[in-house]
Symmetry: C2
Subunit: 321 residues, 2 copies
Protein backbone atom coordinates (compact mmCIF):
# COMPACT_ATOMS: atom_id res chain seq x y z
CA UNK A 1 0.00 0.00 0.00
CA UNK A 2 1.21 3.51 -0.79
CA UNK A 3 2.28 5.42 2.35
CA UNK A 4 -0.15 8.27 1.58
CA UNK A 5 -3.04 5.77 1.50
CA UNK A 6 -1.81 3.94 4.58
CA UNK A 7 -1.71 7.18 6.58
CA UNK A 8 -4.98 8.47 5.12
CA UNK A 9 -3.66 11.98 4.65
CA UNK A 10 -2.29 12.29 8.19
CA UNK A 11 1.20 13.76 8.60
CA UNK A 12 4.43 12.36 10.04
CA UNK A 13 6.49 13.93 12.83
CA UNK A 14 10.29 13.92 12.68
CA UNK A 15 11.55 14.50 16.22
CA UNK A 16 15.23 15.38 16.56
CA UNK A 17 16.58 17.24 13.53
CA UNK A 18 20.21 16.12 13.32
CA UNK A 19 21.65 14.24 10.35
CA UNK A 20 19.50 11.18 11.00
CA UNK A 21 16.29 13.18 11.43
CA UNK A 22 17.02 15.17 8.26
CA UNK A 23 17.50 11.92 6.34
CA UNK A 24 14.21 10.53 7.64
CA UNK A 25 12.40 13.75 6.63
CA UNK A 26 13.58 13.16 3.04
CA UNK A 27 12.43 9.52 3.13
CA UNK A 28 8.91 10.55 4.19
CA UNK A 29 8.58 13.64 1.97
CA UNK A 30 9.82 11.75 -1.11
CA UNK A 31 6.86 9.41 -0.73
CA UNK A 32 4.46 12.36 -0.66
CA UNK A 33 3.86 12.42 3.10
CA UNK A 34 3.52 15.72 4.95
CA UNK A 35 6.35 16.01 7.46
CA UNK A 36 6.72 18.25 10.51
CA UNK A 37 10.30 18.66 11.64
CA UNK A 38 10.78 19.28 15.36
CA UNK A 39 13.85 19.69 17.56
CA UNK A 40 14.20 20.98 21.13
CA UNK A 41 16.72 23.46 19.64
CA UNK A 42 14.84 25.71 17.17
CA UNK A 43 18.11 26.54 15.37
CA UNK A 44 18.57 22.83 14.60
CA UNK A 45 15.22 22.79 12.75
CA UNK A 46 16.25 25.64 10.45
CA UNK A 47 19.67 24.06 9.83
CA UNK A 48 17.99 20.74 9.03
CA UNK A 49 15.64 22.31 6.49
CA UNK A 50 18.59 24.05 4.79
CA UNK A 51 20.57 20.78 4.76
CA UNK A 52 17.60 18.91 3.30
CA UNK A 53 17.30 21.47 0.48
CA UNK A 54 20.96 20.84 -0.44
CA UNK A 55 20.55 17.08 -0.21
CA UNK A 56 17.50 17.15 -2.47
CA UNK A 57 19.54 18.97 -5.14
CA UNK A 58 22.24 16.29 -4.92
CA UNK A 59 19.66 13.48 -5.17
CA UNK A 60 18.32 15.16 -8.31
CA UNK A 61 21.81 15.38 -9.84
CA UNK A 62 22.17 11.58 -9.46
CA UNK A 63 18.76 10.98 -11.06
CA UNK A 64 17.37 9.62 -7.79
CA UNK A 65 14.51 12.17 -7.57
CA UNK A 66 12.76 14.29 -10.20
CA UNK A 67 11.34 17.33 -8.46
CA UNK A 68 13.16 18.66 -5.36
CA UNK A 69 10.79 21.63 -5.00
CA UNK A 70 7.71 19.39 -4.89
CA UNK A 71 9.33 17.24 -2.19
CA UNK A 72 10.39 20.29 -0.15
CA UNK A 73 6.78 21.50 -0.12
CA UNK A 74 5.87 18.53 2.07
CA UNK A 75 8.18 19.74 4.85
CA UNK A 76 7.44 22.30 7.51
CA UNK A 77 9.02 23.22 10.82
CA UNK A 78 7.24 22.60 14.12
CA UNK A 79 8.69 24.58 17.02
CA UNK A 80 6.73 22.70 19.71
CA UNK A 81 6.63 18.95 20.29
CA UNK A 82 2.82 19.03 20.61
CA UNK A 83 2.53 20.85 17.28
CA UNK A 84 4.74 18.25 15.53
CA UNK A 85 2.53 15.30 16.49
CA UNK A 86 -0.88 16.95 16.28
CA UNK A 87 -3.01 14.78 14.03
CA UNK A 88 0.04 12.71 13.07
CA UNK A 89 -0.16 8.97 12.31
CA UNK A 90 3.53 8.26 12.84
CA UNK A 91 6.49 9.86 14.59
CA UNK A 92 10.15 8.98 14.06
CA UNK A 93 12.39 10.07 16.92
CA UNK A 94 16.12 10.58 16.31
CA UNK A 95 17.29 12.32 19.49
CA UNK A 96 20.82 11.47 20.72
CA UNK A 97 21.57 7.86 21.76
CA UNK A 98 21.01 8.33 25.53
CA UNK A 99 18.45 6.46 27.61
CA UNK A 100 17.63 9.52 29.74
CA UNK A 101 16.89 11.69 26.68
CA UNK A 102 14.79 9.04 24.97
CA UNK A 103 12.89 8.36 28.19
CA UNK A 104 12.12 12.05 28.79
CA UNK A 105 10.89 12.36 25.21
CA UNK A 106 8.57 9.35 25.61
CA UNK A 107 7.17 10.83 28.85
CA UNK A 108 6.52 14.10 27.02
CA UNK A 109 4.95 12.28 24.06
CA UNK A 110 2.66 10.43 26.45
CA UNK A 111 1.27 13.85 27.41
CA UNK A 112 0.81 15.32 23.95
CA UNK A 113 0.56 12.49 21.39
CA UNK A 114 -2.79 11.69 19.77
CA UNK A 115 -4.15 8.35 21.04
CA UNK A 116 -3.26 6.28 17.98
CA UNK A 117 0.17 7.75 17.14
CA UNK A 118 2.76 5.04 16.47
CA UNK A 119 6.34 5.96 17.38
CA UNK A 120 9.52 4.62 15.79
CA UNK A 121 12.86 5.20 17.48
CA UNK A 122 16.12 5.53 15.52
CA UNK A 123 18.04 4.05 18.47
CA UNK A 124 21.03 2.13 17.15
CA UNK A 125 21.50 -0.08 20.17
CA UNK A 126 19.26 0.81 23.13
CA UNK A 127 16.11 -1.36 23.11
CA UNK A 128 12.70 0.34 23.41
CA UNK A 129 11.86 -1.38 26.69
CA UNK A 130 14.77 0.49 28.32
CA UNK A 131 12.85 3.76 27.93
CA UNK A 132 9.18 2.71 27.62
CA UNK A 133 8.78 -0.29 29.98
CA UNK A 134 6.47 1.47 32.50
CA UNK A 135 4.72 3.91 30.15
CA UNK A 136 1.20 3.60 28.71
CA UNK A 137 2.50 4.35 25.22
CA UNK A 138 4.89 1.35 25.30
CA UNK A 139 2.50 -0.64 23.09
CA UNK A 140 2.88 1.96 20.34
CA UNK A 141 6.69 2.29 20.42
CA UNK A 142 9.31 0.17 18.64
CA UNK A 143 12.83 0.62 17.33
CA UNK A 144 13.05 1.55 13.63
CA UNK A 145 16.81 1.75 13.22
CA UNK A 146 18.18 3.13 9.93
CA UNK A 147 21.73 3.28 8.61
CA UNK A 148 23.30 6.71 8.35
CA UNK A 149 22.35 8.51 6.11
CA UNK A 150 18.77 7.14 6.16
CA UNK A 151 17.69 8.65 2.84
CA UNK A 152 20.52 6.89 0.96
CA UNK A 153 20.79 3.42 2.52
CA UNK A 154 17.57 1.35 2.45
CA UNK A 155 17.86 -1.00 5.44
CA UNK A 156 15.80 -0.49 8.63
CA UNK A 157 15.74 -2.79 11.64
CA UNK A 158 12.37 -3.17 13.36
CA UNK A 159 12.83 -4.17 17.00
CA UNK A 160 9.60 -4.39 19.00
CA UNK A 161 9.76 -4.45 22.80
CA UNK A 162 7.75 -7.14 24.60
CA UNK A 163 5.07 -4.44 25.12
CA UNK A 164 4.77 -3.39 21.46
CA UNK A 165 1.40 -4.39 19.97
CA UNK A 166 1.11 -6.55 16.87
CA UNK A 167 -0.93 -3.75 15.27
CA UNK A 168 1.89 -1.25 15.73
CA UNK A 169 4.46 -3.70 14.32
CA UNK A 170 2.32 -4.47 11.26
CA UNK A 171 1.59 -0.79 10.67
CA UNK A 172 5.28 0.18 10.77
CA UNK A 173 6.34 -2.80 8.61
CA UNK A 174 3.75 -1.80 5.97
CA UNK A 175 4.76 1.87 6.17
CA UNK A 176 8.47 1.09 5.80
CA UNK A 177 7.85 -1.26 2.88
CA UNK A 178 5.75 1.45 1.23
CA UNK A 179 8.68 3.82 1.74
CA UNK A 180 10.90 1.31 -0.13
CA UNK A 181 12.87 0.54 2.99
CA UNK A 182 14.43 -2.91 3.27
CA UNK A 183 12.83 -4.24 6.46
CA UNK A 184 14.71 -6.50 8.89
CA UNK A 185 12.61 -8.08 11.66
CA UNK A 186 14.62 -8.40 14.88
CA UNK A 187 12.71 -10.87 17.03
CA UNK A 188 14.46 -10.26 20.37
CA UNK A 189 15.70 -7.07 22.04
CA UNK A 190 19.38 -8.01 21.87
CA UNK A 191 21.91 -5.24 22.54
CA UNK A 192 23.06 -3.68 19.25
CA UNK A 193 20.26 -5.45 17.32
CA UNK A 194 21.47 -7.25 14.18
CA UNK A 195 23.29 -4.50 12.30
CA UNK A 196 25.58 -3.28 15.03
CA UNK A 197 26.19 -6.80 16.31
CA UNK A 198 27.49 -7.77 12.85
CA UNK A 199 29.45 -4.53 12.52
CA UNK A 200 30.77 -4.95 16.08
CA UNK A 201 31.98 -8.50 15.40
CA UNK A 202 33.91 -7.39 12.32
CA UNK A 203 35.28 -4.27 14.06
CA UNK A 204 36.45 -6.30 17.04
CA UNK A 205 38.56 -8.50 14.77
CA UNK A 206 39.76 -5.42 12.85
CA UNK A 207 40.95 -3.66 16.03
CA UNK A 208 42.64 -6.85 17.23
CA UNK A 209 44.49 -7.33 13.91
CA UNK A 210 45.89 -3.80 14.21
CA UNK A 211 46.87 -4.41 17.83
CA UNK A 212 48.61 -7.67 16.92
CA UNK A 213 50.58 -5.94 14.15
CA UNK A 214 49.10 -8.20 11.45
CA UNK A 215 48.02 -5.34 9.16
CA UNK A 216 47.64 -1.57 9.08
CA UNK A 217 44.15 -0.14 9.45
CA UNK A 218 44.42 1.08 5.84
CA UNK A 219 45.16 -2.48 4.65
CA UNK A 220 42.23 -3.80 6.71
CA UNK A 221 39.97 -1.20 5.08
CA UNK A 222 41.36 -2.23 1.69
CA UNK A 223 40.55 -5.90 2.39
CA UNK A 224 36.92 -4.95 2.86
CA UNK A 225 36.43 -2.15 0.30
CA UNK A 226 38.29 -3.95 -2.53
CA UNK A 227 37.29 -7.47 -1.47
CA UNK A 228 34.63 -8.58 1.01
CA UNK A 229 32.51 -5.44 0.58
CA UNK A 230 31.90 -6.02 -3.13
CA UNK A 231 29.99 -9.23 -2.57
CA UNK A 232 28.32 -8.04 0.63
CA UNK A 233 26.99 -4.95 -1.18
CA UNK A 234 24.43 -7.08 -3.00
CA UNK A 235 24.40 -10.54 -1.41
CA UNK A 236 24.92 -10.61 2.35
CA UNK A 237 27.15 -13.11 4.18
CA UNK A 238 24.98 -16.25 3.90
CA UNK A 239 24.28 -15.92 0.18
CA UNK A 240 27.98 -15.17 -0.36
CA UNK A 241 29.08 -18.48 1.15
CA UNK A 242 26.09 -20.31 -0.36
CA UNK A 243 27.45 -19.40 -3.82
CA UNK A 244 31.07 -20.00 -2.84
CA UNK A 245 31.05 -23.81 -2.84
CA UNK A 246 29.63 -26.04 -5.58
CA UNK A 247 26.97 -27.59 -3.33
CA UNK A 248 25.83 -24.50 -1.43
CA UNK A 249 26.17 -23.35 2.17
CA UNK A 250 26.35 -26.80 3.82
CA UNK A 251 29.07 -27.80 1.34
CA UNK A 252 30.90 -24.55 2.15
CA UNK A 253 30.60 -25.24 5.88
CA UNK A 254 32.06 -28.73 5.42
CA UNK A 255 34.99 -27.32 3.49
CA UNK A 256 35.80 -24.35 5.69
CA UNK A 257 34.47 -24.86 9.19
CA UNK A 258 37.75 -26.18 10.54
CA UNK A 259 39.46 -23.00 9.27
CA UNK A 260 36.81 -20.78 10.86
CA UNK A 261 36.93 -22.76 14.10
CA UNK A 262 40.68 -22.24 14.29
CA UNK A 263 40.23 -18.54 13.56
CA UNK A 264 37.62 -18.17 16.32
CA UNK A 265 39.75 -20.18 18.73
CA UNK A 266 42.81 -18.03 18.11
CA UNK A 267 41.10 -14.73 18.95
CA UNK A 268 41.80 -14.07 22.61
CA UNK A 269 41.41 -10.30 23.06
CA UNK A 270 38.40 -9.81 25.28
CA UNK A 271 37.99 -6.09 24.71
CA UNK A 272 39.36 -4.49 21.57
CA UNK A 273 38.23 -0.92 22.32
CA UNK A 274 41.26 0.12 24.43
CA UNK A 275 42.39 3.78 24.69
CA UNK A 276 45.94 3.16 23.46
CA UNK A 277 44.75 1.21 20.42
CA UNK A 278 42.11 3.83 19.64
CA UNK A 279 44.85 6.50 19.71
CA UNK A 280 46.96 4.42 17.32
CA UNK A 281 44.10 4.00 14.82
CA UNK A 282 43.13 7.67 15.19
CA UNK A 283 46.74 8.64 14.38
CA UNK A 284 46.78 6.43 11.27
CA UNK A 285 43.42 7.74 10.08
CA UNK A 286 44.48 11.37 10.63
CA UNK A 287 47.66 10.73 8.62
CA UNK A 288 45.39 9.56 5.76
CA UNK A 289 42.67 12.20 6.25
CA UNK A 290 43.14 15.33 8.35
CA UNK A 291 40.55 16.54 10.85
CA UNK A 292 39.76 19.47 8.50
CA UNK A 293 39.05 17.08 5.63
CA UNK A 294 36.46 14.94 7.46
CA UNK A 295 33.43 16.99 6.40
CA UNK A 296 34.48 17.00 2.75
CA UNK A 297 35.05 13.27 2.86
CA UNK A 298 31.56 12.78 4.35
CA UNK A 299 30.14 14.64 1.34
CA UNK A 300 32.22 12.33 -0.90
CA UNK A 301 30.80 9.31 0.94
CA UNK A 302 27.26 10.52 0.31
CA UNK A 303 27.98 11.04 -3.40
CA UNK A 304 29.40 7.53 -3.61
CA UNK A 305 26.28 6.18 -1.87
CA UNK A 306 24.11 8.07 -4.37
CA UNK A 307 26.08 6.63 -7.30
CA UNK A 308 25.68 3.20 -5.70
CA UNK A 309 21.92 3.70 -5.28
CA UNK A 310 21.55 4.77 -8.92
CA UNK A 311 23.56 1.73 -10.10
CA UNK A 312 21.52 -0.57 -7.84
CA UNK A 313 18.25 0.66 -9.36
CA UNK A 314 19.59 -0.22 -12.81
CA UNK A 315 20.72 -3.66 -11.62
CA UNK A 316 17.34 -4.39 -10.02
CA UNK A 317 15.62 -3.41 -13.28
CA UNK A 318 18.02 -5.73 -15.13
CA UNK A 319 17.25 -8.58 -12.71
CA UNK A 320 13.51 -8.07 -13.18
CA UNK A 321 13.79 -8.58 -16.95
CA UNK B 1 56.05 -0.73 -13.84
CA UNK B 2 54.04 -2.53 -16.50
CA UNK B 3 53.87 -6.29 -15.86
CA UNK B 4 55.29 -7.06 -19.34
CA UNK B 5 58.35 -4.91 -18.54
CA UNK B 6 58.69 -6.32 -15.05
CA UNK B 7 58.74 -9.88 -16.38
CA UNK B 8 60.95 -9.00 -19.35
CA UNK B 9 58.93 -11.08 -21.77
CA UNK B 10 58.91 -14.22 -19.62
CA UNK B 11 55.62 -16.06 -19.22
CA UNK B 12 53.47 -16.86 -16.18
CA UNK B 13 52.31 -20.32 -15.11
CA UNK B 14 48.79 -20.88 -13.79
CA UNK B 15 48.85 -24.17 -11.86
CA UNK B 16 45.47 -25.62 -10.97
CA UNK B 17 42.77 -24.75 -13.51
CA UNK B 18 39.59 -24.54 -11.43
CA UNK B 19 37.53 -21.36 -11.06
CA UNK B 20 40.30 -19.56 -9.19
CA UNK B 21 43.01 -20.56 -11.66
CA UNK B 22 40.81 -19.52 -14.61
CA UNK B 23 40.25 -16.12 -13.00
CA UNK B 24 43.99 -15.65 -12.48
CA UNK B 25 44.68 -16.56 -16.11
CA UNK B 26 42.39 -13.68 -17.17
CA UNK B 27 44.16 -11.26 -14.79
CA UNK B 28 47.57 -12.08 -16.30
CA UNK B 29 46.48 -12.27 -19.96
CA UNK B 30 44.57 -8.96 -19.72
CA UNK B 31 47.83 -7.26 -18.83
CA UNK B 32 49.51 -8.73 -21.93
CA UNK B 33 51.42 -11.51 -20.16
CA UNK B 34 51.80 -14.92 -21.80
CA UNK B 35 50.09 -17.53 -19.64
CA UNK B 36 50.45 -21.31 -19.55
CA UNK B 37 47.54 -23.07 -17.93
CA UNK B 38 48.35 -26.37 -16.22
CA UNK B 39 46.27 -28.85 -14.22
CA UNK B 40 47.03 -32.42 -13.14
CA UNK B 41 43.74 -33.29 -14.88
CA UNK B 42 44.12 -32.50 -18.63
CA UNK B 43 40.33 -32.23 -19.01
CA UNK B 44 40.32 -29.42 -16.46
CA UNK B 45 42.69 -27.40 -18.64
CA UNK B 46 40.39 -27.60 -21.65
CA UNK B 47 37.33 -26.76 -19.53
CA UNK B 48 39.18 -23.77 -18.05
CA UNK B 49 40.11 -22.41 -21.48
CA UNK B 50 36.47 -22.74 -22.62
CA UNK B 51 35.26 -21.02 -19.43
CA UNK B 52 37.78 -18.21 -19.90
CA UNK B 53 36.53 -17.61 -23.46
CA UNK B 54 32.98 -17.17 -22.12
CA UNK B 55 34.13 -14.91 -19.30
CA UNK B 56 36.08 -12.70 -21.70
CA UNK B 57 32.90 -12.17 -23.75
CA UNK B 58 31.03 -11.15 -20.61
CA UNK B 59 33.79 -8.74 -19.56
CA UNK B 60 33.57 -7.15 -23.02
CA UNK B 61 29.80 -6.76 -22.72
CA UNK B 62 30.29 -4.73 -19.50
CA UNK B 63 32.92 -2.53 -21.15
CA UNK B 64 35.64 -3.92 -18.88
CA UNK B 65 37.86 -5.18 -21.75
CA UNK B 66 38.09 -4.18 -25.43
CA UNK B 67 39.47 -7.15 -27.31
CA UNK B 68 38.69 -10.66 -26.00
CA UNK B 69 40.45 -12.36 -28.93
CA UNK B 70 43.70 -10.49 -28.31
CA UNK B 71 43.60 -11.50 -24.64
CA UNK B 72 42.82 -15.13 -25.46
CA UNK B 73 45.91 -15.26 -27.71
CA UNK B 74 48.07 -14.92 -24.61
CA UNK B 75 46.75 -18.20 -23.18
CA UNK B 76 47.93 -21.68 -23.95
CA UNK B 77 47.55 -25.08 -22.29
CA UNK B 78 50.52 -26.87 -20.70
CA UNK B 79 49.89 -30.57 -20.13
CA UNK B 80 53.01 -31.08 -17.99
CA UNK B 81 54.00 -29.16 -14.87
CA UNK B 82 57.58 -28.76 -16.16
CA UNK B 83 56.28 -27.32 -19.43
CA UNK B 84 54.11 -24.77 -17.58
CA UNK B 85 57.01 -23.26 -15.65
CA UNK B 86 59.74 -23.52 -18.28
CA UNK B 87 61.27 -20.06 -18.63
CA UNK B 88 58.50 -18.58 -16.46
CA UNK B 89 59.10 -15.64 -14.10
CA UNK B 90 56.06 -16.27 -11.92
CA UNK B 91 53.71 -19.12 -11.09
CA UNK B 92 50.34 -18.83 -9.36
CA UNK B 93 49.15 -22.09 -7.81
CA UNK B 94 45.44 -22.61 -7.13
CA UNK B 95 45.21 -26.32 -6.34
CA UNK B 96 42.62 -27.37 -3.71
CA UNK B 97 43.00 -26.04 -0.14
CA UNK B 98 44.81 -29.08 1.32
CA UNK B 99 48.25 -29.03 2.92
CA UNK B 100 49.22 -32.41 1.42
CA UNK B 101 48.36 -31.31 -2.14
CA UNK B 102 50.12 -27.99 -1.82
CA UNK B 103 53.16 -29.67 -0.27
CA UNK B 104 53.43 -32.28 -3.04
CA UNK B 105 53.17 -29.54 -5.67
CA UNK B 106 55.97 -27.55 -4.02
CA UNK B 107 58.16 -30.67 -3.93
CA UNK B 108 57.48 -31.20 -7.63
CA UNK B 109 58.16 -27.55 -8.41
CA UNK B 110 61.46 -27.78 -6.57
CA UNK B 111 62.45 -30.40 -9.17
CA UNK B 112 61.32 -28.61 -12.31
CA UNK B 113 61.15 -24.85 -11.64
CA UNK B 114 63.75 -22.52 -13.14
CA UNK B 115 66.05 -21.16 -10.41
CA UNK B 116 64.49 -17.70 -10.13
CA UNK B 117 60.82 -18.60 -10.46
CA UNK B 118 58.69 -16.86 -7.80
CA UNK B 119 55.59 -18.77 -6.70
CA UNK B 120 52.37 -17.29 -5.34
CA UNK B 121 49.83 -19.55 -3.65
CA UNK B 122 46.08 -18.85 -3.75
CA UNK B 123 45.68 -20.52 -0.34
CA UNK B 124 42.84 -18.85 1.54
CA UNK B 125 43.93 -19.83 5.01
CA UNK B 126 46.89 -22.24 5.09
CA UNK B 127 50.16 -20.31 5.56
CA UNK B 128 53.05 -20.98 3.18
CA UNK B 129 55.34 -22.24 5.93
CA UNK B 130 52.94 -25.17 6.46
CA UNK B 131 53.96 -26.58 3.06
CA UNK B 132 57.38 -25.02 2.33
CA UNK B 133 59.17 -24.87 5.71
CA UNK B 134 61.87 -27.45 4.88
CA UNK B 135 62.15 -26.90 1.13
CA UNK B 136 64.88 -24.98 -0.72
CA UNK B 137 62.29 -23.02 -2.69
CA UNK B 138 60.70 -21.64 0.52
CA UNK B 139 62.43 -18.29 -0.02
CA UNK B 140 60.58 -17.90 -3.34
CA UNK B 141 57.07 -18.84 -2.14
CA UNK B 142 54.43 -16.65 -0.51
CA UNK B 143 50.65 -16.57 -0.26
CA UNK B 144 48.92 -14.38 -2.89
CA UNK B 145 45.31 -14.87 -1.86
CA UNK B 146 42.58 -13.47 -4.15
CA UNK B 147 38.84 -13.20 -3.65
CA UNK B 148 36.68 -15.42 -5.82
CA UNK B 149 36.38 -14.68 -8.74
CA UNK B 150 39.92 -13.22 -8.98
CA UNK B 151 39.41 -11.44 -12.33
CA UNK B 152 36.47 -9.44 -10.96
CA UNK B 153 37.42 -8.48 -7.39
CA UNK B 154 40.72 -6.56 -7.04
CA UNK B 155 41.98 -7.43 -3.54
CA UNK B 156 44.93 -9.79 -2.98
CA UNK B 157 46.53 -10.64 0.35
CA UNK B 158 50.31 -11.10 0.31
CA UNK B 159 51.42 -13.31 3.19
CA UNK B 160 55.14 -14.12 3.22
CA UNK B 161 56.40 -16.99 5.37
CA UNK B 162 59.38 -16.31 7.65
CA UNK B 163 61.52 -17.91 4.89
CA UNK B 164 60.25 -15.74 2.00
CA UNK B 165 62.96 -13.39 0.72
CA UNK B 166 62.50 -9.63 0.59
CA UNK B 167 63.26 -9.79 -3.13
CA UNK B 168 60.38 -12.21 -3.76
CA UNK B 169 57.97 -10.08 -1.70
CA UNK B 170 58.93 -6.89 -3.55
CA UNK B 171 58.70 -8.60 -6.94
CA UNK B 172 55.19 -9.94 -6.25
CA UNK B 173 54.00 -6.64 -4.76
CA UNK B 174 55.20 -4.79 -7.88
CA UNK B 175 53.68 -7.41 -10.18
CA UNK B 176 50.30 -7.31 -8.41
CA UNK B 177 50.22 -3.51 -8.44
CA UNK B 178 51.03 -3.59 -12.15
CA UNK B 179 48.10 -5.98 -12.59
CA UNK B 180 45.87 -3.37 -10.86
CA UNK B 181 45.36 -5.62 -7.88
CA UNK B 182 44.65 -3.95 -4.52
CA UNK B 183 47.53 -5.28 -2.40
CA UNK B 184 47.13 -6.04 1.32
CA UNK B 185 50.37 -6.78 3.22
CA UNK B 186 49.77 -9.38 5.93
CA UNK B 187 52.75 -9.13 8.27
CA UNK B 188 52.27 -12.36 10.24
CA UNK B 189 51.18 -15.84 9.17
CA UNK B 190 47.92 -15.79 11.15
CA UNK B 191 45.35 -18.48 10.37
CA UNK B 192 42.81 -17.17 7.83
CA UNK B 193 44.98 -14.10 7.09
CA UNK B 194 43.06 -10.81 7.23
CA UNK B 195 40.19 -11.43 4.80
CA UNK B 196 38.88 -14.69 6.19
CA UNK B 197 39.45 -13.56 9.78
CA UNK B 198 37.17 -10.57 9.14
CA UNK B 199 34.67 -12.70 7.23
CA UNK B 200 34.85 -15.38 9.95
CA UNK B 201 34.15 -12.86 12.73
CA UNK B 202 31.05 -11.58 10.94
CA UNK B 203 29.87 -15.10 10.01
CA UNK B 204 30.27 -16.32 13.58
CA UNK B 205 27.92 -13.60 14.81
CA UNK B 206 25.55 -14.28 11.89
CA UNK B 207 25.32 -18.02 12.69
CA UNK B 208 24.80 -17.25 16.39
CA UNK B 209 21.98 -14.76 15.65
CA UNK B 210 20.18 -17.46 13.64
CA UNK B 211 20.73 -19.99 16.40
CA UNK B 212 19.40 -17.58 19.03
CA UNK B 213 16.27 -16.93 16.96
CA UNK B 214 17.04 -13.20 16.68
CA UNK B 215 16.66 -13.04 12.89
CA UNK B 216 16.28 -15.27 9.82
CA UNK B 217 19.34 -15.79 7.66
CA UNK B 218 17.56 -13.86 4.89
CA UNK B 219 17.08 -10.88 7.24
CA UNK B 220 20.75 -11.08 8.27
CA UNK B 221 21.73 -11.04 4.58
CA UNK B 222 19.41 -8.08 4.06
CA UNK B 223 21.07 -6.17 6.93
CA UNK B 224 24.39 -6.47 5.13
CA UNK B 225 23.38 -6.18 1.44
CA UNK B 226 20.97 -3.25 1.98
CA UNK B 227 22.92 -1.67 4.85
CA UNK B 228 26.45 -2.36 6.05
CA UNK B 229 27.66 -3.60 2.66
CA UNK B 230 26.93 -0.31 0.87
CA UNK B 231 29.48 1.61 2.92
CA UNK B 232 31.95 -1.26 3.10
CA UNK B 233 31.95 -1.58 -0.71
CA UNK B 234 34.00 1.61 -1.01
CA UNK B 235 35.22 2.56 2.47
CA UNK B 236 36.16 -0.33 4.73
CA UNK B 237 35.26 -0.58 8.43
CA UNK B 238 37.69 1.97 9.86
CA UNK B 239 36.92 4.73 7.37
CA UNK B 240 33.20 4.00 7.87
CA UNK B 241 33.35 4.73 11.60
CA UNK B 242 35.88 7.57 11.08
CA UNK B 243 33.19 9.37 9.04
CA UNK B 244 30.35 8.35 11.36
CA UNK B 245 31.07 10.73 14.26
CA UNK B 246 31.77 14.47 13.95
CA UNK B 247 35.32 14.23 15.35
CA UNK B 248 36.47 11.03 13.59
CA UNK B 249 37.29 7.53 14.78
CA UNK B 250 38.36 8.39 18.35
CA UNK B 251 35.15 10.39 18.79
CA UNK B 252 33.19 7.42 17.44
CA UNK B 253 34.97 5.07 19.84
CA UNK B 254 34.10 7.33 22.78
CA UNK B 255 30.46 7.38 21.77
CA UNK B 256 30.00 3.70 20.98
CA UNK B 257 32.60 1.60 22.75
CA UNK B 258 30.34 0.82 25.69
CA UNK B 259 27.74 -0.51 23.21
CA UNK B 260 30.32 -2.64 21.40
CA UNK B 261 31.78 -3.89 24.68
CA UNK B 262 28.34 -5.02 25.78
CA UNK B 263 27.80 -6.70 22.40
CA UNK B 264 31.13 -8.56 22.64
CA UNK B 265 30.44 -9.52 26.25
CA UNK B 266 27.02 -10.93 25.42
CA UNK B 267 28.32 -13.31 22.72
CA UNK B 268 28.91 -16.63 24.45
CA UNK B 269 28.74 -19.27 21.69
CA UNK B 270 32.20 -20.74 21.38
CA UNK B 271 31.68 -22.51 18.10
CA UNK B 272 28.98 -21.41 15.71
CA UNK B 273 29.65 -24.00 12.98
CA UNK B 274 27.47 -26.81 14.44
CA UNK B 275 25.88 -29.47 12.21
CA UNK B 276 22.30 -28.81 13.32
CA UNK B 277 22.60 -25.08 12.74
CA UNK B 278 24.25 -25.64 9.36
CA UNK B 279 21.30 -27.87 8.39
CA UNK B 280 18.88 -25.13 9.46
CA UNK B 281 20.62 -22.45 7.39
CA UNK B 282 20.99 -24.84 4.44
CA UNK B 283 17.22 -25.49 4.60
CA UNK B 284 16.42 -21.76 4.64
CA UNK B 285 18.83 -21.06 1.76
CA UNK B 286 17.40 -23.93 -0.32
CA UNK B 287 13.88 -22.59 0.26
CA UNK B 288 15.10 -19.27 -1.22
CA UNK B 289 17.28 -20.79 -3.96
CA UNK B 290 17.06 -24.42 -5.05
CA UNK B 291 20.12 -26.59 -5.59
CA UNK B 292 19.44 -26.49 -9.35
CA UNK B 293 19.48 -22.69 -9.35
CA UNK B 294 22.89 -22.28 -7.68
CA UNK B 295 24.89 -22.20 -10.93
CA UNK B 296 22.59 -19.62 -12.50
CA UNK B 297 22.78 -17.48 -9.39
CA UNK B 298 26.60 -17.65 -9.53
CA UNK B 299 26.46 -16.28 -13.07
CA UNK B 300 24.14 -13.52 -11.75
CA UNK B 301 26.66 -12.76 -9.00
CA UNK B 302 29.45 -12.41 -11.55
CA UNK B 303 27.33 -10.05 -13.67
CA UNK B 304 26.59 -7.94 -10.59
CA UNK B 305 30.31 -7.86 -9.80
CA UNK B 306 31.04 -6.76 -13.38
CA UNK B 307 28.44 -3.98 -13.13
CA UNK B 308 30.00 -2.98 -9.81
CA UNK B 309 33.48 -2.94 -11.35
CA UNK B 310 32.31 -0.78 -14.25
CA UNK B 311 30.59 1.66 -11.84
CA UNK B 312 33.70 1.74 -9.63
CA UNK B 313 35.91 2.71 -12.57
CA UNK B 314 33.58 5.64 -13.27
CA UNK B 315 33.63 6.68 -9.59
CA UNK B 316 37.43 6.53 -9.43
CA UNK B 317 37.63 8.71 -12.56
CA UNK B 318 35.18 11.14 -10.92
CA UNK B 319 37.29 11.21 -7.73
CA UNK B 320 40.45 11.90 -9.74
CA UNK B 321 38.93 15.06 -11.29
Amino acid sequence: MRPTDLLGGRPVAVIGAGLVGAGWAIVFARAGLDVRVYDADPGAIDRALALIAEQLKELESFGLIDDPAAIAEHLRPAYQLAESVEGAAYAQESVPERVDLKRRLMQDLQQVAPPNLVIGSSSSGIPASAFTHDLDIASRVLIVHPVNPPHLVPVVELVPSPATSGTAIEFVAALMQGLERSVVMVRKEVRGFVLNRLQGALLREAWALVEDGVASCEDIDRTVRDGLGWRWSFMGPFETIDLNAPGGVADYANRFRSLYREIAGSRTHEDAWQPELIRKVEAERRSLLSQDALAGRRAWRDRRLMAFAAQREKSLEQDAK
